[in-house]
């Protein structure tokens, strides 16, 4: 899994979050939302502090934090690529887009790249069904997504992702499961934190967490 932040966690951002809500159980889900937004995940120390301040048992905070799909107990990537798997997107080939991303990053949807730069995940409907399949890259919606469009969006937001010349340029056009899309393009692949083949995951993430 990706590198744990080397420095001890800075809990300062928690105070303004807690100040916004009454200090009792009813604020728990909202507080967790803001913590997720601030740290991109729910650090253990923060959750323990939240339990204390809201006078709620830690077991209850853990009980709630592990229920909702939006919350993550492990650090997520600085960038997020979310493929919508709603019914409308499913019938228009979202599954093939997920496979494309899994091939591209060498990991399963839901994971984060070892260097902590990118999380690829699926969500069950984002409500932009008319332009299925939809992929969201760092909050930017990519409508009628094709593999090429997704690659371009990722390149744009991942900025200087290193290019690997020797990798064969593989892009596929997700499009409809039976390939309604026809534009083809052989751009060179951009490996986002994909470990060198053969895939021997390094023991511990050595890359320094370069969160923007």
């Amino acid at each position: 899994m990706s590198a744990l932040p080397a420095t001890p966690l800075d809990l300062a951002p928690l105070e303004p979050i807690l100040a916004r809500y009454p200090a009792d159980r009813r604020s728990l889900v909202m507080v967790l939302q803001d913590v997720q937004a601030a740290w991109h995940y729910l650090p253990r120390e923060v959750l323990n502090r939240v339990a204390e301040r809201l006078a709620v048992p830690r077991s209850h905070v853990y009980h709630v934090a592990t229920f909702y799909k939006h919350f993550s107990l492990t650090p997520r990537g600085a960038h997020t690529c979310t493929v919508c798997m709603g019914t409308a997107c499913h019938v228009r080939g979202a599954g093939l887009l997920v496979e494309h991303l899994e091939r591209r990053t060498g990991m399963k949807a839901g994971d984060t790249t070892p260097d902590g730069r990118l999380t690829v995940e699926t969500v069950n409907c984002v409500g932009a069904c008319a332009l299925g399949p939809v992929v969201i890259v760092d909050g930017q919606y990519v409508g009628s997504a094709t593999a090429r469009k997704v690659d371009r969006a990722l390149e744009a937001c991942m900025g200087h992702a290193e290019r690997k010349p020797e990798d064969s340029g593989i892009t596929s056009n997700g499009g409809d499961s039976l390939g309604a899309g026809t534009d083809r393009q052989a751009s060179s692949v951009v490996a986002w934190g994909r470990p060198p083949d053969p895939q021997t995951p390094t023991a511990s993430g050595d890359g320094k967490e370069d969160t923007e």
């Binding site: 077991s59 853990y62 009980h63 592990t66 799909k69």
Partner: protein, 256 residues
Amino acid sequence: MILTINGRPLAATPGETLLQVARRAGVDLPTLCHHEGLEAWGGCRLCVVEVRRRPDDAPKVVPSCLQPAEDGVRVETHTEHLLRIRATLLDLLLTRAPDSDLIRRLAVEHGVSDGTFEPRPEPTSCILCTLCTRACAAVGAHAISTAGRGAEGEVSLPFVDDADACVGCGSCAAVCPTGCIELKDAGSRRTIWGRTFERVPCEVTGQPTVTREYAELLARRSGLPVDSFFVSDEGRRRQTADRVAGLVGVGDGRVA
């Protein structure tokens, strides 16, 4: 109020559940996640019965452990559909607890000799009935809870290893229907949820009593001093007899 179970009219008092009325009338309804002393959960669904308010209504399947008794309602507890539901539920639970004697026994009683479904990858005998977490909450420790959602859910400590809140009272292990919570007592040492406690020995009889953490919890809840919990019942009875003997002036104020 009067309601009928399997055609038999029965008296019921408001606030009673159908399960209570049925059991009082000797009707045997299986339950797993129900416990009279704990908040009703309604998750295992083994206790389901069919109810009809009016004779021609379609029967509605409801959990008898939660469904309140209503005047004039018609209840059936062992229809063919209900028996098939219970059998299937037990078949499903065998995928989680293939080695649990209770589940196997109940399954056999409902005609399921061995599981017909694909077992869970690593069955842990836990059937997620949450009796343990509810007992822990009732005792006031709130040390464990269910983590994760859906079929991947499991009972665990916060962050899997944070046993700070556990007081070592053992209720979770006691109420677990499939016995999948490990509690080891060796002399006065008690190990549960990966944490080892010392049960304070009774000053009179030397038997292990409660853990210090549990005594502190009981003190908070009852207002009694912490140290008052470290004498076994055997020891206390002897102390009481001594005191009475002293009051009455028999013997030299002490029991033999």
